[in-house]
């Protein structure tokens, strides 16, 4: 898709993830967290119809339940005892705490399922190379060698199997021995061949001067707009957190879960922040449907 959330500069996208995850960890309030989780599920739905989330759903549910059940078991702080089991008190505060941790966790995991869709491997490599250019180059060379090694090993196996040296049948000891032999051949052979790769690199001027970097992603005016918007919302998030309006006080006395006054405003800006992909992608969906 040419437009939509994915078309923003990788830096902006990375910033979005950092802010939302930070927000999820700061806003320990059931209402805020539930709103966040629902928004993130919506984000998933609009990005890929929830395909990626679907793959992870059992994992997420299991982890959330695990945390939700075990937190009240170990957390013994609170005033309101719900019930007692095996001479152990279960406090309402601890149950709420458990729910909030579970919500935070599932929110972060659900958000991460979109990470692969939004920040694809080449965008990730681009970001990586911005921070660690040398390591990124090594990583890219390694990425090239993976399929090459796999193919060579398959070739070696074929040729040696025809000679009667095999990793497939025989005693375990023999199989292991042959396998080691194959790896040894693979390495010797690959080292030989890598000399040519090194020649080809230096023939194209590698190491003569500082490398420049190709900017695969240009900074557009929309990226500025989005960046300013993101920073504004994150500032609001920060103020909300500082003012304690967005955190549920558990001790010394449990606060009411109902939102009051300014809290509503912060909730609005919080939802607005998380659902940025929904606005940007949704615009495209509407446009395409409209023009059809």
């Amino acid at each position: 898709m040419l437009r939509g959330f994915r078309s923003f500069h990788p830096f902006v996208l990375l910033l979005y993830y950092i802010i939302v995850i930070a927000g999820l960890m700061m806003y320990q309030h059931p209402v805020f967290l539930t709103a966040a989780l629902l928004s993130i599920i919506f984000v998933n739905l609009i990005l890929d119809k929830g395909v990626e989330l679907n793959k992870w759903k059992y994992m997420i549910i299991f982890l959330a339940l695990f945390v939700f059940v075990f937190t009240p078991l170990f957390n013994q702080q609170g005033n309101i005892v719900l019930f007692e089991l095996f001479s152990r008190a279960f406090y309402l505060e601890a149950v709420i705490q458990g729910a909030m941790i579970a919500l935070t966790l599932s929110g972060i995991l659900a958000l991460f399922t979109t990470f692969n869709i939004i920040i694809t491997s080449d965008k990730f490599l681009y970001l990586f190379s911005k921070f660690f250019p040398k390591w990124a180059l090594i990583l890219m060379l390694a990425l090239r060698f993976m399929p090459l090694f796999r193919k060579r090993l398959a070739d070696i196996q074929d040729v040696q199997e025809m000679k009667g040296v095999s990793m497939k049948d025989g005693k375990l000891r023999e199989k292991a021995q042959n396998g080691m032999l194959f790896i040894q051949i693979l390495l010797t052979y690959s080292l030989e061949e890598a000399v040519q790769t090194a020649d080809s690199m230096s023939a194209r001027g590698y190491g003569l001067q500082k490398r420049s970097q190709y900017e695969a992603y240009l900074w557009k005016s929309r990226d500025w707009a989005m960046l300013v918007f993101l920073l504004l919302l994150s500032l609001l998030t920060l103020i909300g957190w500082k003012s304690n309006k967005t955190i549920l006080t558990l001790t010394p006395e449990l606060e009411s879960m109902m939102l009051q006054g300014h809290s509503w405003f912060y909730l609005l800006s919080w939802i607005l922040l998380i659902s940025l992909p929904i606005w940007t992608e949704g615009k495209e969906v509407i446009k395409w449907n409209f023009y059809k």
């Binding site: 000679k163 061949e193 040519q196 020649d199 080809s200 001027g205 420049s212 190709y214």
Partner: protein, 550 residues
């Protein structure tokens, strides 16, 4: 303008008593298309590598190389890296990045181009080469020809004045090789890039180059225009000539003529002036009793359930004691067929019979397999260790191995590491190893790839000796000329099916496109149709040779 100049260049590798290059003097002018040729070990690669400063060849060098009149040492390293571009032999090993776009950018990033420059230049080159569809692909998914084009493009992006190529088509199939050569011609004609290429596949190059330099034992034998080079080569390096010229030489015997034909059109012209009849007695082939060794019936194979079948309803019979060639384009399933016979893959449908008996898989011990890359065959440090291990495995005595080693003249090489052998020696060494196992069938996978013409002949005679010991040989190849010369029968594979299997001569005589140069020359002419120079020599009778009028 003199672009590159070598004066009194000598070079010796460390720990070597012989000079690799002796007194090299030659000049390359702007816009030249120079071909360096000569047998393996003649110093081609050394010379070519010396022209590229960054490769930093180890050894002692005397003499000077000048670029634009200034010695290499006084040039800025970056200017040299930019102006002199180099493409190597192996398409795979030159590629550094995992995706095509990054590979194209690699050189430009090294030399500090800005993003805007890189964008513009890639856009231009992608358009010029027409590989828009490859840009987002992984480099490991490309064919050999495509890989070599990417390598070329990646070098061209640096705006070289001179392009140096070290046997760039040796690993490509004939079609891809031809396309690559014409691409070079296009660069030379349209962009004026000077080209220096080392190569022993000269057929196309004679009509593309404007100068041929022949090296022998580290010395320049001559450096002439293609026409002159042709008559000089005719004296004692006929194997390097195009078949058309070989045919001419076989029948005229006149040397030093300025007009030896080197392509089909010219040779046809020359034949018009000839009166040739065929020598009937030679035509009759002795009919050999057929004894099928291996029969494949209605073989179907696909790599997975949902992919297109690679082999489809394939039937093939291999006769005992024959040398069968399997020909066909890329991706027609040639290598897959070999793997099925070898038992490395199992066909989903179909039957295999060995000596008339139905088998599920042929016993591995009966099959010898010479891989495309013989380096992969060796597991031990020296040949001696390898052979000893194989002998114990197959229960062979030391003396039996000794006889084989002697027969293939490998005595002197027994203590060497396999990787220190030359390409030809390596193949011989692997063959000895295979023959220790006493195979009944020998499978060869593209054996002539990257061989120089002289070694091809030697290899053919080695295989003939193996064949005379009663081993049946099956070869997968692209090399039409080689197959026509040496093989008993040919099969054509097309879309996963053997569409025809015939005796070599009959096979090539019928074909119009997939055939030898000699057949294309003699087909539909007044002279008897032949397939190889040897056949012409044996079967043609010349009534009178009219003075050639080309």
């Amino acid at each position: 303008m003199e672009l590159l100049q070598m004066r009194n260049l000598n070079f010796t590798y460390p720990n070597s008593s012989d000079q690799a290059l002796t007194d090299i003097n030659f000049t390359v002018h702007e816009g030249d298309f120079v071909v360096l040729c000569g047998p393996s070990g003649s110093g081609k690669s050394t010379l070519i590598r010396l022209m590229k400063q960054e490769l930093n060849l180890h050894g002692t060098k005397s003499g000077e190389i000048y670029y634009q009149g200034i010695p290499f040492e006084q040039h800025d390293a970056i200017t040299l890296a930019k102006d002199i571009g180099m493409v190597f032999q192996d398409p795979e090993n030159q590629i550094v990045m995992s995706n095509v776009m990054d590979e194209l950018l690699f050189g430009m990033e090294n030399l500090g181009f800005s993003t805007n420059e890189m964008r513009k230049k890639t856009a231009e080159i992608v358009h010029y080469f027409g590989f828009n569809h490859l840009l987002q692909q992984d480099t490991s998914e490309l064919s050999g020809g495509e890989k070599q084009q990417i390598n070329l493009a990646s070098v061209l992006l640096l705006d070289p004045k001179i392009l140096i190529l070290d046997e760039p088509t040796a690993q490509l199939d004939p079609i891809a090789a031809k396309n690559f050569m014409y691409l070079l011609k296009q660069l030379n004609d349209e962009l004026g890039i000077t080209i220096i290429i080392a190569e022993h596949r000269l057929n196309e190059l004679f009509s593309l180059a404007n100068r041929i330099v022949v090296l022998e034992q580290g010395k320049i034998k001559f450096s002439e225009s293609p026409r002159k080079a042709l008559s000089l080569l005719a004296e004692n390096m006929t194997a390097y000539l195009p078949e058309a010229s070989q045919l001419y030489l076989a029948f005229t015997g006149i040397l030093k003529t300025p007009d030896i034909p080197f392509h089909v059109k010219e040779a046809k012209q020359w034949l018009k002036g000839m009166d040739i009849t065929s020598n009937q007695s030679q035509q009759e082939e002795q009919v050999k009793p057929e004894k099928p060794l291996l029969e494949l019936k209605e073989i179907d194979f696909s790599y997975s359930k949902h992919t297109e079948p690679v082999l489809n309803n394939l039937s093939l019979t291999v006769q005992e004691g024959e040398w069968l060639a399997i020909l066909g384009g890329n991706g027609t399933g040639k290598s897959t067929l070999l793997k099925i016979i070898a038992g490395l893959l199992t066909a989903q449908h179909g039957r295999i019979r060995y000596k008339g008996k139905k088998v599920k898989q042929i016993d591995r011990k009966l099959i010898g397999y010479l891989p495309q890359n013989p380096k992969l065959y060796f597991l031990h440090e020296t040949l001696q260790e390898e052979y000893t291990a194989l002998a114990t495995k197959h229960g062979k005595s030391e003396t039996e191995v000794q006889t084989l080693v002697k027969e293939f003249q490998m005595e002197a090489l027994l203590d060497r590491h396999p990787y220190d052998l030359s390409g030809g020696e390596l193949q011989r060494a692997a063959l000895v190893g295979i023959l220790i196992g006493n195979p009944q069938i020998l499978l060869l996978d593209e054996p002539t790839k990257g061989m120089d013409p002289a070694f091809k002949e030697e290899f053919a005679s080695i295989i003939q000796t193996v064949k005379h010991t009663g081993v049946t040989i099956m070869m997968v190849t692209h090399d039409v000329e080689f197959a026509a010369k040496h093989v008993t029968r040919c099969s054509m594979l097309f879309q996963g099916e053997v569409i025809v299997t015939e005796d070599t001569t009959a096979f090539f005589k019928d074909n119009d496109y997939y055939t030898t140069m000699i057949n294309r020359i003699t087909k539909d002419s007044q002279v008897p149709t032949v397939v190889t120079v040897e056949e012409a020599k044996a079967s043609w009778q010349m009534k009178k040779a009219l003075p050639s009028s080309v």
